[in-house]
């Protein structure tokens, strides 16, 4: 495999819960991200899946240095991003860019497309001298499949899919090596979603980009990711290549998640062995002891309540899985 470009070690983010009007006391912690480690290799796409509240968006913010982690490290090309002096940090952050979920709120409605896509050059003026910026922005618009002549238009004059392309153009402006995509297609219609996913694919080949692709839609991640990490309540529960996760999942949560995804094929109705989970995801303020999934797990035993399972390769799982009773089961192709 190619070199590791981004390393995350034991990343933790706890948000304090405060109470009181004048004197705020901390009465608890929301454990949004609780000890996540991952490696991103050059040119690959790492998919992160999980349900709402599992911490995947907080993880994106931590990687972007938009939130300060409680503890842990993010190393880019071997250097700890969080412990650099501000000037170095700024230079380094240029290489990691973000594409946000909602193309309706992530673009400033009072700025033209040219200003939005060109704004990174204001912050990093050494990348493109003033005179060249307009031409560079037009090039970027062309790269993402927008008409370069629309440079003076405003976001509201574009459709959702086109706005997402503007967001992608902005992320590409500084020629980053890593792009963190936080639910980049979930606000789009099916017919538009495919266009944006193909664009991301094509840009990856063209610029040798590495993606961290965060999504709740498992079919989308299957399509785009080389490796996949599954998160539940702030922890990574299973990591592997896409075949590991989609054909040979070993964690019960991954299996339940996969089996719950409706397949667009009515003949699959009878074939599918659907695992129905009871109840909702517990509150991250007060996660269950031991394994966090145990309250909804059909395999749970006493050990699950006392001992948190480590994310590791096990005799019954060829790839890292955080379950005491990891067992391979193909739920997608069953029958």
């Amino acid at each position: 495999m190619s070199e590791v470009i981004l390393e995350v070690r034991d990343l933790v983010k706890h948000f304090p819960i405060r109470q009181g009007i004048l004197f705020k006391r901390t009465i608890g912690q929301i454990k949004a991200v609780d000890g996540v480690s991952l490696d991103l290799h050059k040119g690959e796409t790492l998919g992160i899946v999980g349900e709402s509240g599992c911490g995947k968006s907080t993880l994106a913010k931590l990687l972007m240095n938009l939130e300060k982690p409680t503890s842990g490290e993010v190393r880019y090309q071997g250097r700890d991003v969080l412990r650099l002096n501000p000037a170095d940090q700024r230079r380094l952050r240029r290489n990691i860019q973000l594409v946000m979920q909602d193309p309706y709120t992530s673009l400033n409605p009072r700025m033209t497309v040219g200003d939005i896509v060109g704004e990174p050059y204001e912050i990093h003026p050494d990348v493109a001298p003033k005179g060249e910026r307009r031409r560079k922005v037009q090039e970027l618009l062309d790269v993402v499949g927008l008409n370069p002549e629309h440079i003076n238009r405003y976001p509201h004059q574009f459709s959702g899919g086109q706005r997402q392309r503007i967001g992608i153009a902005r992320a590409l402006a500084l020629k980053p090596e890593v792009i963190v995509c936080d639910e980049p297609v979930s606000a789009l219609d099916v017919s538009i979603q495919a266009q944006v996913m193909n664009l991301l694919d094509q840009l990856q080949n063209e610029f040798n980009l590495s993606y961290i692709f965060i999504a709740h839609d498992l079919s989308v991640v299957r399509h785009i990711a080389d490796r996949v990490g599954v998160m539940y309540l702030g922890k990574m529960v299973e990591v592997g290549t896409d075949d590991d996760i989609y054909i040979r999942p070993t964690h019960p949560y991954t299996q339940a998640l996969l089996s719950a995804v409706p397949v667009p094929d009515p003949t699959a109705r009878q074939r599918k062995a659907v695992i129905r989970l009871e109840g909702d995801v517990p509150s991250p303020a007060n996660p269950p002891s031991g394994c966090r999934f145990r309250t909804r797990c059909w395999k749970a035993q006493e050990i699950c309540a006392t001992e948190p399972p480590l994310l590791q390769i096990r005799p019954t799982s060829g790839h890292p899985s955080a379950c005491h009773f990891a067992q391979e089961k193909d739920v997608v192709h069953a029958g």
């Binding site: 219609d189 193909n198 399509h223 409706p262 397949v263 667009p264 909702d280």
Partner: protein, 345 residues
Amino acid sequence: MSDIKVKTAPVLGVDGRSAGHLLEIDNLHVEFRTRDGIAKVINGVSYHVDAGETLAVLGESGSGKSVTAQTIMGILDTPPGFVTDGAIRFRGKDLLTMGKDERRLVRGEGIAMVFQDALSALNPVFTVGFQIAELFRKRRGMSRADGYKRAAELLDLVKIPAASARLRDFPHQFSGGMRQRVMIAMALALDPEVLIADEPTTALDVTVQAQIMDLLAEIRRDRNMGMILITHDLGVVADVADRIAVMYAGRIVEQADVHALYGKPCHPYTLALLDSLPRLDLKGQELNTIKGLPPNLLRIPSGCAFHPRCRMARDICSAERPALVELGGVRSSACHFAEELYGRE
């Protein structure tokens, strides 16, 4: 108020002929009169649903699927929305020509609706128990205590744990999935014959989505209700629908039995939609896309509204609007080349 029942009427049309279907939408036209011009949101939609079956109405944003539902329920905002033509017959009676009071009685008892976003559909300043019990007080003339008792039974029916204790909770105190269950309980309160579910699981996670879809299917079976499921999710449709109507730019472009539609789509739009879908069970290469954008309803393309985005489009497509033609007697498609698509291997 006394216990009023409207569903004792025999299934007969106004003019005496038997009305074939429980709920029938017939050539419905709706337009939105906006400052920028007239948006033709629904342009001749016809579909029907019978007791015990699930009809899925599939379409992307702006296809008119939700506006149709709002028109059926009589909650279309007027202005800007105006019904310009067509009929909506429930048990043979046209809802659109009915008096206000009579129509109000159909709502809830005849046809009820589950909305997409439960947090904004429920009233945030009243407890859930109050909101459900209110239905029984106003419509069934029950006492407050009896209303609450029925409300608890309903919450129990939709599998909310500790139902009677949760009556005193406000909507924001429920999780997304539980809130959607409250909405379903409320829709079921007056025992409707048709349930319209408008994107009931779009805001929910997959594992919770599966729970809610199971619950809806179970209730539909138990009560022999007709259900109209409005969604953009081709996966959910394949799981639960009996029949499907695919909408595009305010028209139905294809209508078929669920197996027939997925097995052999006979409209280029349906075909392209299915092709553009990433699949969980298949690792594909490049996804097939539908070029361009959904049409602006202020300026719907001439002829077939899909022609600017269609791979099969020829000259006739921009000149002449294709009618919805029957194929093999059980399905229909609005494409000039429908027969060709139907005849293919």
